[in-house]
């Protein structure tokens, strides 16, 4: 561990590699986390199958890539397919738990996460796969830093998608309705907004965002049916750290998590990457709790 640290000190250029990789992967984390922040903030549903939706999007892309369709063209397919999927899931399950207590939605989506992960295991097999984009890998700094072109493309795509979603939320009628419902669902109903439709659209939109994130992840990283839970936890870490009204915070926390994972993977060893995610979750929750306790004391 200390060897790796001193290696970083001796060759600062390796930091650039880690930061770049953290940036590329963090962008996809931020995308999935934004979806979670949306359903959490608007519908108060803790969607524990978030990560499995990401993986499903990835598998759609990989399957298309095996059939000769370039992964980038898999992106719109994954988005549309997951949008429809989210719509169906809402009608079947989510609309029944939305008015119930908090643990219900958590447990129902956890059950769904198990069903999804196992179904994907049966359909796509348990192998770790990736969608090959066929792009080149560039080297910088005399070969010390490698950058795959697809990672840059994926970062740009993630930024484009995020911009589209933000503009949609700010400008469109549906975006306004979603924000109004998030602020006060009852008032929104009084104003003539069909909140059930808003919830349905929000959940489907979240699924679509997850599908997009999964497509990008399958291009720049690896996917496997049981990786979903880690992606869910990542999204929870990011949203809990940032708070859900805070879009800028979500993006920042997403990149932060990307960096943290890259660094811990390099310094402590790759087997610690999972432990880092869950460890960070516990730390973030503890910090939040201390803040809340202070807040409670201040209120009293």
């Amino acid at each position: 561990m200390l060897d790796n640290l001193s290696l970083l000190a001796q060759a600062p250029v390796l930091n650039i590699q880690l930061l770049l990789d953290g940036l590329f992967i963090g962008a996809t984390f931020a995308l999935a986390a934004y979806g979670l922040a949306l359903v959490w903030g608007v519908m108060n549903v803790k969607n524990l199958c978030q990560g499995d939706m990401v993986i499903l999007g990835g598998f759609i892309t990989v399957t298309l890539a095996h059939n000769g369709i370039h992964p980038i063209f898999g992106l719109p397919v994954a988005i549309v397919a997951l949008f429809v999927y989210g719509w169906i899931v809402y009608r079947l399950i989510i609309c029944r738990v939305i008015e119930r207590d908090l643990f219900t939605s958590l447990l129902a989506t956890f059950g769904l996460a198990i069903v999804m992960a196992q179904s994907m295991n049966l359909i796509f097999g348990p192998e770790v796969t990736t969608a090959d984009s066929g792009f080149e890998t560039r080297t910088l700094f005399d070969g010390l830093v490698t950058v795959a072109e697809i990672k840059v493309v994926s970062l740009l795509l993630a930024a484009t998608l995020a911009t589209i979603v933000i503009v949609f939320m700010k400008r469109s009628r549906m975006g306004q309705a979603i924000r109004a419902t998030a602020q006060d669902a009852r008032a929104a109903r009084v104003m003539g907004i069909d909140t059930d439709r808003v919830y349905q659209f929000t959940y489907a939109l979240n699924a679509a965002i997850c599908g997009a994130a999964g497509c990008l992840i399958s291009m720049i990283w690896t996917i496997q049916p049981f990786f979903g839970i880690t992606h869910s936890i990542r999204a929870f870490v990011i949203v809990t750290a940032a708070g859900f009204g805070n879009l800028f915070g979500v993006i920042l926390a997403g990149f932060g998590l990307g960096f943290a994972e890259q660094y811990s993977g390099f310094v402590l060893g790759a087997q610690f990457q999972q432990a880092t995610v869950v460890g960070l979750l516990v730390i973030v929750l503890v910090v939040r709790q201390i803040q809340q306790a202070r807040h409670r004391r201040a209120v009293i």
Binding site: K46, I93, R96, V97, R100, L102, F103, T104, L106, L107, A108, F110, G111, L112, A113, I114, V115, M116, A117, Q118, S119, L122, I229, I233, F236, T240, G269, Q271, F272, Q274, A275, V278, G279, L281, V282, L285, V286, R288, Q289, I290, Q292, A293
Partner: protein, 350 residues
């Protein structure tokens, strides 16, 4: 017949079934022992989840911790742990019965105490969290501990530890561990039956109903919550230690901290039976174990999907559980009806 006579008859029936079942069906001793473990899981989860309203997803932490504490004690009494785990099974331990039982008893005791300490420590971390944050936080703690044990070379990392071999014949071994499981589960049940009748039980229910008001009434909520969790930890630690010895080999992800299997089964069994009741977890555990064994046998490959679907349906349509449903249906005859159901389901278990 008066109520107390009926209750006495019921307990006598269960006692006879408990002792008779492994003698009648010696091939299923492991399965039956697992059934007792499931009952204990459900009962301990219900302390915090049902009676106190704190839905934990990470109680499996104590199961694994107890298992590891016990294993390390058993090995560490007579060998060097680091060398033993590094050899990964190459060192064959040969214990005399006296050595073995000293290690086992000491290991179980330390596991129970260690888990109480762990509950006190982690209670400080997680009990400030409310609602869903608590569930996610406990899930995080359980997953993190599995990952950390999996990377800790001294305790065997992902490769696990094999436990000392029982000095005696396999049938006696099976009966011994069956007896320990049955004893632990029965002990938990009787303890909880007493506990829920005390003012401590009332305080837990008060926390569930309204934590702020309970605090305002002078209940020291954090202390009560931590003690309740420590009670779960105590019994889970014991059963974890026993289960580790029963399987003979432990490793972090599948045996010690199976968050997505046993960890979820706990919640599901309680929801199925009815949370916040004494008999609900027992009924839920028995029914669930039967359903699980049937699906694992006849729907292999699909068993997990069935399980996930069961969770969804249970949570959405039948959250009050069997006992909760009966309480709604026949509130005036409640105690009597529960007893009858429990007898039926414990007859099914044989």
């Amino acid at each position: 017949m008066s109520k107390s006579v009926k209750a006495g008859l019921l307990y006598a029936c269960i006692l006879i079934l408990g002792i008779g079942a492994p003698l009648l069906f010696p091939d299923y001793t492991f399965q039956l022992a697992l059934l007792w473990i499931m009952i204990l899981f459900a009962l301990t989860w219900d302390i915090a989840g049902g009676q106190m309203g704190y839905n934990s997803l990470g109680n499996i932490l104590f199961f694994g911790a107890g298992m590891y504490i016990c294993a390390l004690t058993q090995v560490g009494l007579y060998y060097d742990i680091g060398a033993y785990t590094a050899a990964s099974g190459a060192i064959k331990v040969d214990y005399t019965p006296q050595q073995y039982f000293t290690g086992l008893i000491l290991g179980i005791a330390l596991a129970a105490v260690g888990c109480v300490v762990l509950a006190a420590i982690f209670g400080r971390i997680v009990f400030g969290l409310r609602g869903p944050y608590f569930a996610i936080g406990t899930l995080g703690v359980a997953l993190a501990s599995a990952e950390l044990i999996g990377t800790w070379g001294y305790v065997g990392a992902g490769g696990g530890i094999s436990l000392p071999v029982y000095p005696g014949d396999p049938d006696a071994r099976a009966m011994l561990f069956y007896g320990l499981c049955a004893l632990a589960a029965t002990g938990t049940f009787l303890f909880l039956r007493w506990l829920y009748g005390t003012s401590f039980g009332l305080a837990l229910n008060a926390i569930r109903d309204d934590e702020e008001k309970a605090e305002a009434m002078g209940i020291h909520t954090t202390r009560y919550k931590t003690v309740a969790w420590a009670i779960s930890g105590f019994f889970l630690g014991i059963v974890g230690a026993v289960f580790g010895n029963m399987t003979g080999f432990i490793e972090p992800l599948e045996v010690a901290f199976p968050t997505t299997t046993f960890g979820i089964f706990m919640v599901l069994m309680v929801l199925l039976g009815g949370k916040g009741t004494l008999w609900g977890p027992v009924i839920g555990a028995v029914l669930f174990h039967i359903v699980k064994e049937v699906t694992w046998t006849y729907l292999l490959g699909w068993q997990w999907i069935t399980l996930g679907a069961l969770i969804i349906v249970n949570v959405i349509f039948f959250q009050q559980g069997i006992v909760g449903w009966m309480r709604e249906k026949w509130p005036e005859r409640f105690g009597l009806v529960v007893d009858r159901r429990a007898t039926i389901s414990s007859q099914e278990e044989s």
